[in-house]
Symmetry: C2
Subunit: 249 residues, 2 copies
Amino acid sequence: MQRYFLLENAELNQRFFIHNTDDIHHIKNVMRMQVDQKLILTFKDQKSLISKIIAFNSDNIELETIEDTTRLTELPVEITIASGMIKGDKYEWMIQKATEMGAHHFIAVQSERTVIKLDEKKRDKKIDRWQKIVKEASEQSMRLTIPDVKYQSNFKAVYDNMNEYDYVLIAYEEEAKRGETSNLHKVITQLEQGQKILLIFGPEGGLTENEVNLFESAEKVGLGPRILRAETAPLYALSALSYQLELMR
Amino acid sequence: MQRYFLLENAELNQRFFIHNTDDIHHIKNVMRMQVDQKLILTFKDQKSLISKIIAFNSDNIELETIEDTTRLTELPVEITIASGMIKGDKYEWMIQKATEMGAHHFIAVQSERTVIKLDEKKRDKKIDRWQKIVKEASEQSMRLTIPDVKYQSNFKAVYDNMNEYDYVLIAYEEEAKRGETSNLHKVITQLEQGQKILLIFGPEGGLTENEVNLFESAEKVGLGPRILRAETAPLYALSALSYQLELMR
């Protein structure tokens, strides 16, 4: 059943209106839904209610919420992925899959080795596009929240906000080569419900020594013995988190 | 350092020759390497030796192996991913990333809901292309072996070979919805070094009831509470396997 987000608080047996034009287009023209057919509305408070279409009005779709179908599809910890921007559609691919896998926030960093340069106009367009990708991935994977995407012009800006997080992990290729096996496991085992975790990844060329040194106080973690590409590494980390925190309980 | 595969047995302080035209092109024209520069040769017996370029001959590159740099970059179990073919470049993404994450064999299945139809000529071209993608991903992630890609015209053919495997796991979306949490963990905990594991995934439209029923004796596993796309699900499974078998020891 298709899912759409509404920035309101959930209430059963209540009328609600979808005003978002992308969503209206999707419901009317892509899914070709009719009056009386059902979809799922996910609300600001993370409740999901099965809702029946009442009417297609001139600038909105009117629905009535009829059944609670809330399912816990969020990780128990809040994940931010700060990564050096990757070329082309690989960054888009990464944020789509990372959203499917539960990430909550993305920080696209103009890191030292990032090949792409974005002026302010391009940047705004890109952020809009990335936000759309993440919203659609969120809906399809039945997430209860839509991740956000922000831009930072360097990793120093990310470093400046380190205190916002309970844990900061840096995925560092050198740890993979040295045979480091247990730090990721050790950290995940200590995590508690609701904590905020920052995961740091480099772009294709990796992080520079300067960038790594910024995060000296972070936990350095290996992601297994194989070298993972920049767009793959976050997915390994998210899967490991999900596996331990959601499947091993 | 760049890595290239040689289907021979490793020997230190020995002369070897690269004849593969793609590799020669990569070394000469892409990496623009010179005599005396070094690269890594990974041999049939999974040893990796740092090798120095001795000469660029008319149809080969001559090297001398000078140092052992073998690193265990293979999962302790042998993984086959049999999945309904996915449209467009999404299947290519999946096998590339699954190779980075350690999969050993791919079976591309013309499953009931697979949208793409491949005649024999297209099929051979596709398999060639997929094999190239997997070889390149293998080299970059420092794998000691190159996965292979095969085609099957339906899942019944996959079912017919089930006895080749020690474990067969089927990733089934209904399990995710039903809140199944522990089966993947239970199975991974039982795995022993060298066992052969078959992982079954559907295409975008999922597996049909007939296809699921074929694998009635397989372990049905959920991959967490979020619905993962067809090309994402194998990556979750591989990360979980690596996390438990390689990082949690």
